[in-house]
């Protein structure tokens, strides 16, 4: 298998019920509603995109500043700003439907009822191809964090969403837990078809001249290359413990980073903060993975998944 190079690499990946034309996605909250980066990166080439997190009601999100730069990373405290379900369906979905790639909706909530409403809204044929359940957003005091750090609640939320939609359900895990494997097993138990990981690490940065946290919300989510070792470790651990496919994310900027996640066990990868640095990152990652497979004689991109174990 490692002997000679291969002409055409099969780049398709099967994530349980969800098939992607290739393993490269973009992360929720970093790719808007799919058209913002269109002038810079050809979305039709990507495996798919994930929409900004949605809640039943519209949200104005947190006060400003919402961003802070940190060593090889950044903090954000957007706080789930979004137009709300109704406005999304009316004004955004028509355009989203037209996106020439797989589209994953990312849903959040502050109660089980919220998740239920969101799950109900997205069914096969609605123009959305899968639902990613954000049980891990660290920015919202009531709700998000709770579901994401208690295995029982996580299982309950996922089971509920799973019961209400016929779309593939992706459970998105928070890294801010003692035992990531326990969380992964819980969402698998809850019926998740796929796990995506990791969401941001909870962090803070202080302006030493103003003597106040930089973010108006004080704490925010840490993303970018800085967190990659934590993300890779967690993907590695979870791969060994569950039987559902994993979408790996956290600090991917180059194809090498993406291959690292795949060797650790991720069947697909997703690019978030990397887009801000290089809007062509998703495309370059895709091409790089393909070239890596070719160079090492792997006929299918799935062949490299978990190889570092």
């Amino acid at each position: 298998m490692n002997s000679n190079s291969v002409e055409n690499i099969d780049m398709r990946v099967n994530l349980g019920p969800l098939t992607l034309k290739n393993p490269v996605l973009t992360c929720s909250g970093t790719y808007g509603f799919g058209d913002e980066y269109a002038p810079y990166c050809p979305v039709e080439k990507l495996g798919g995109i994930t929409l900004k997190g949605l809640t039943p009601e519209p949200r104005l999100g947190n006060p400003l500043p919402r961003l802070a730069e940190t060593p090889a990373g950044m903090l954000n405290s957007v706080g789930l700003e979004n137009p709300g379900l109704e406005e999304f369906l009316q004004s955004y979905l028509p355009k989203v439907r037209e996106l020439p790639t797989t589209v994953i909706a990312n849903i959040s909530g502050f109660s089980l009822r919220d998740y239920e409403i969101m799950a109900n809204a997205f069914q096969a044929g609605s123009g959305i191809d899968a639902i990613e359940v954000n049980i891990s957003c660290p920015n919202v005091k009531h709700g998000g964090m709770h579901f994401g750090t208690h295995p029982e609640s996580a299982q309950e939320v996922i089971a509920l969403v799973k019961a209400k939609t016929n779309l593939p359900v992706i459970a998105k895990l928070s890294p801010n837990v003692t035992n990531i494997v326990q969380m992964a097993k819980a969402v698998e138990q809850g019926g998740a078809d796929i796990i995506s990981m990791i969401n941001t690490l909870l962090g803070m940065s202080i302006d030493i001249e103003r003597r106040q946290p930089i973010l108006a919300n004080k704490v925010g989510g840490l993303s970018g290359p800085a967190i990659r070792p934590v993300a890779v470790r967690m993907v590695w651990q979870v791969t060994q413990a569950v039987n559902i496919p994993i979408i790996g994310m956290g600090g991917i900027l180059t194809w090498q980073d993406a291959v690292e996640f795949m060797l650790a066990g991720a069947k697909a990868v997703s690019i978030g903060t990397g887009n801000f640095v290089n809007p062509l990152a998703p495309l370059e990652v895709l091409e790089g993975i393909e070239e890596y497979c070719r160079r090492h004689g792997f006929a299918s991109v799935s062949d490299i998944v978990g190889l570092a174990h």
Binding site: G32, G61, L64, R66, E69, N76, A216, F276, P279
Partner: protein, 281 residues
């Protein structure tokens, strides 16, 4: 546009003490750039610092395919940027955002606080081309600052410039609003023009500077019935409207609905009357 731009010139505008540098870049962005738009510049190939830096387009030479950026060395990012050498290339995204509206007639008053003056020159030049009356009211620390921030460019362009400093060392003593009020009064006293009483639609105002100054100047002119545009600043992630890192709060003129605008995409220029300055902060 996303791509490499070659550095044509890179130097201090005046006294290096003021840390203001001029960066001329050859880029297709020059073709489409509009006054008030900006570019998102990668200051290093590595990941430290990680994010790009937003910088306004301070001059556009369409034929030469060149844009000029004027920036102040502020922190690590601009410090590293300042070390880029002529001939080297920088990765640039742009032109980004919604710039100023060029009035079709009447008078255009530009008001700048400090380095907020940088995005205003292209607007002034465009207004001149349309033969509009245009003038600049500019507050700054002292003479050195003005000459190191491109005052000459304005003089070369033949645009009337009125300065203010807090210590009165050059121009009017006081802040830029004091300057404007005084100026308005003097115009009234001389019975000269639009700024005087309740202004008509004929007066357009474009403001850029620190938030507090922008707000008071905007409110002042709005009260007078002028059409006011303000250029806002926020920390940016994506600069294309995808991350919601840079929003401001607006009230829809017609419906009264409160909503978030993205400074990077819906702005940086907004209608003064739509901005809710202190919302939720």
């Amino acid at each position: 546009m996303l791509g490499k731009a070659q550095i044509i010139a890179h130097d201090f505008v005046g006294d290096p003490l003021y840390k203001i540098r001029r960066l001329v870049l050859r880029t297709e962005i020059a073709r489409e750039a509009q006054p008030g738009q900006f570019v998102h510049v990668q200051v290093t190939k590595g990941i430290d610092p990680l994010l790009r830096r937003p910088i306004s387009i301070a001059d556009i030479q369409r034929e030469a395919q060149e844009i000029t950026l004027l920036y102040r060395i502020k922190g690590r990012g601009t410090e590293i940027l300042s070390e880029a050498k002529v001939g080297e290339e920088l990765s640039l995204m742009g032109p980004l955002g919604r710039g100023f509206t060029l009035p079709t007639q009447g008078e255009l008053i530009l008001v700048a606080g400090g380095i907020g003056v940088f995005p205003l020159l292209p607007l002034a030049k465009a207004a001149q081309e349309k033969s509009l009356a245009v003038s600049l009211y500019w507050g700054g620390e002292n003479e050195g600052f003005f000459t190191s921030s491109g005052l000459e460019l304005w003089q070369e362009a033949g645009i009337p410039v009125f300065l203010s400093t807090m210590d009165g060392s050059i121009g009017e003593k006081g802040n830029v609003l004091d300057l404007i009020q005084k100026q308005v009064e003097s115009r009234v006293n001389h019975g000269k023009d639009a700024v005087a009483g309740a202004c008509s639609d004929d007066l357009s105002v474009a403001v850029c500077g620190p938030q507090v100054m922008t707000q008071v100047v905007s409110d002042y002119f709005l009260l007078k019935g002028a059409s006011v545009e303000v250029s806002l600043e926020e920390r940016m992630g994506c600069a294309v409207g995808a991350c919601l890192g840079c929003v401001c709060t607006l009230r829809d003129e017609v419906s009264g609905r409160i909503y978030r605008g993205k400074v990077c995409k819906d702005g940086p220029v907004f209608k003064g009357k739509e901005v809710l300055w202190d919302y939720e902060q």
